[in-house]
């Protein structure tokens, strides 16, 4: 089975960028309802730049791929999602040690921990953590149960989507939606929706790897 190498991670990044671009307006509409109507534009700008950066300087080293994405996002996105997604990729790059599924899962876990540390939110606060958290757990569990990476990422994507959907009834406690108080309930969190795309992109691009 082929490794989770630089090419595989680049494919993941490309697939995520493609999904974000495709869902740009949908993400912005989610953000319009309980935020400031820029999440789709923000991530699309950042991921377009990340793909361009990888094209301009293709990286051989898997960690370098993630690092390029991280610095590009931090330099181009801004807002809340820039530092959060940037930190996710930066910590993942730092933790990546190996080219198999377990190495990837450890990197994702480190990225997740980075988002928690940077954003100081908890699960249930109606943020991207509500999708990323369950996805990270599901990935670890599936691999621990001996599932192949493709299947494990599929489970992670399902967990992310379930987490995303579960944000709908929540009253936000972190991020811009928290300003709305009770009025934030009844809407899906835009960051949870984009994070689900991140995990879905991994399931698509990395199936058959690891």
């Amino acid at each position: 089975m082929s490794a989770v190498d630089a090419a595989a991670l680049t494919a993941w990044v490309r697939e995520f960028a493609r999904l974000v671009h495709e869902q740009r307006d949908a993400l912005t509409q989610l953000d319009a309802a309980i935020g400031d109507a820029d999440h789709g534009a923000n991530l699309d700008r950042g991921m377009t730049a990340a793909v361009a950066a990888l094209e301009a300087q293709p990286a051989d080293d898997p960690a370098a791929v993630l690092k390029t994405v991280a610095t590009t996002l931090i330099k181009t996105v801004g807002g809340a999602s820039g530092p959060l997604y940037g930190t996710f990729f930066l910590r993942a790059a730092g933790a990546l040690d190996g080219d198999d599924g377990r190495a990837l899962a450890a990197a994702v876990r480190a990225g997740y921990d980075g988002v928690v540390a940077r954003g100081k939110a908890e699960r249930g606060d109606k943020t991207m953590l509500d999708a990323l958290g369950p996805a990270t757990d599901a990935l670890d569990e599936a691999l621990a149960a001996g599932k192949p990476l493709g299947e494990a990422l599929g489970a992670a994507a399902q967990a992310a989507a379930a987490g995303r959907d579960a944000t709908e009834p929540l009253v936000a406690r972190k991020g811009r939606a928290s300003y709305l108080g009770e009025r934030s309930a009844g809407h899906v969190d835009p960051g949870a929706a984009s994070t689900t795309l991140l995990v879905e992109a991994a399931a698509t691009a990395l199936a058959g790897r690891g």
């Binding site: 319009a32 400031d36 109507a37 534009a41 931090i74 406690r173 991020g175 811009r176 300003y179 108080g181």
Partner: protein, 333 residues
């Protein structure tokens, strides 16, 4: 979407070009989207840096100049600038006396400014202190949430801390002024209409002709509640009352009262609102020592207004009266 723009993606850099052309006394770093005082850095003076998403003009770039900011970073519309911008601004205003970051309390702004400070301090011994403004009483204050938004008080912080820095006071003292202003200031805003983010292309929310939003911020977010349209007199009460019940403003040296337009509000209406605000304050026994009426912290083309009250004291009034020379706030010698 009806706007005087070209490609929505180019709004910010193109507006910065216009600002640079209109104000040769400023220096604009187009690559980093930072607006500097022409004479920055000033040796021995604390440098004041602010910034945030664009769409709030004249805040912040319109407040760069003598007696106020040394640099302002312009993010994408309603999106916090990135750490690189803030780091470039910080380096560019560092005159050896340290740099104050004035940060509005939004998750994005706070995190990006934090990362910028880390970047700068990793490479130099520039002292950086951050003051976060969070004056919006429409948001419930709580340790378990992102807390309150930074809104109108930010303009007052920039003016008053700017005056303190211009006097040559040290970083700690300038930061103390900024914190004091934030602690003693409160705001509340409302919207008659939504605004339209250029990249989104349509209004952020729909508001029927006979309703308004109370408790909005400055990013086109919906407010805390939607109520039937009411006369200016009642709107003034809806804005002032929650401010006063959050912080007692009676007695002392009175308040600095700031009635702010959200971008699509005619000055005629703002003056009318100011008369109503003064009437409500009078009834509440709150004296007005100074005032500011105009569109200083906007939300693109939103129609609406906000009221900010700052409990003043001798020193704050003196700093308020100190000369300021920026594109959008100017008085004194």
């Amino acid at each position: 979407m009806k706007k005087l723009i070209n490609d929505p993606a180019d709004v910010v850099p193109e507006a910065l070009r216009g600002l640079a052309a209109a104000h040769p006394e400023l220096r604009v770093d187009h690559e980093n989207r930072v607006v500097f005082r022409g004479d920055a850095p000033r040796q021995g003076k604390v440098g004041l840096v602010s910034g945030g998403g664009s769409g709030h003009e004249p805040m912040h770039a319109g407040f760069v100049g003598v007696g106020m900011l040394d640099a302002a970073c312009a993010g994408e519309v309603f999106t916090s600038p990135v750490p690189d911008q803030m780091a470039a601004a910080t380096r560019g205003v560092d005159g050896g006396a340290g740099v104050l970051h004035i940060v509005k309390n939004y998750t994005g702004d706070v995190m990006n400014f934090e990362m910028a400070a880390e970047l700068v301090q990793a490479e130099s011994d520039t002292e950086v202190v951050s003051v976060v403004t969070d004056d919006d009483v429409a948001v419930q204050d709580s340790l378990y949430t992102a807390g309150r938004r930074g809104v109108g008080v930010t303009v007052l912080v920039e003016k008053l801390a700017g005056a303190a820095a211009e006097e040559g006071r040290p970083l700690a003292a300038v930061a103390d002024i900024a914190k004091r202003v934030n602690v003693n200031g409160r705001s509340m805003g409302m919207a008659l209409t939504s605004c339209t983010v250029p990249a989104a292309g349509r209004p952020t929310f729909d508001l029927p002709d006979d309703e308004m939003e109370i408790g909005i911020g400055i990013h086109g977010e919906p407010g805390r509640r939607r109520v039937p349209l009411a006369p200016a007199r009642e709107v003034a009460e809806m804005l002032v009352e929650p401010v006063l019940s959050d912080l007692d403003m009676t007695g002392g040296d009175g308040v600095i009262a700031f009635v702010n337009g959200m971008g699509g509000t005619p000055l005629l209406e703002l003056y009318l609102m100011y008369a109503e605000v003064v009437a409500v304050l009078e009834k509440a026994g709150v004296g007005v020592a100074r005032n500011l009426v105009g569109s200083y912290m906007t939300s693109l083309d939103m129609a609406g207004c906000s009221v900010t009250l700052l409990k003043a004291d001798d020193e704050l009034l003196r700093l308020w009266d100190a000369p300021v020379r920026t594109p959008s706030l100017r008085w004194g010698a």
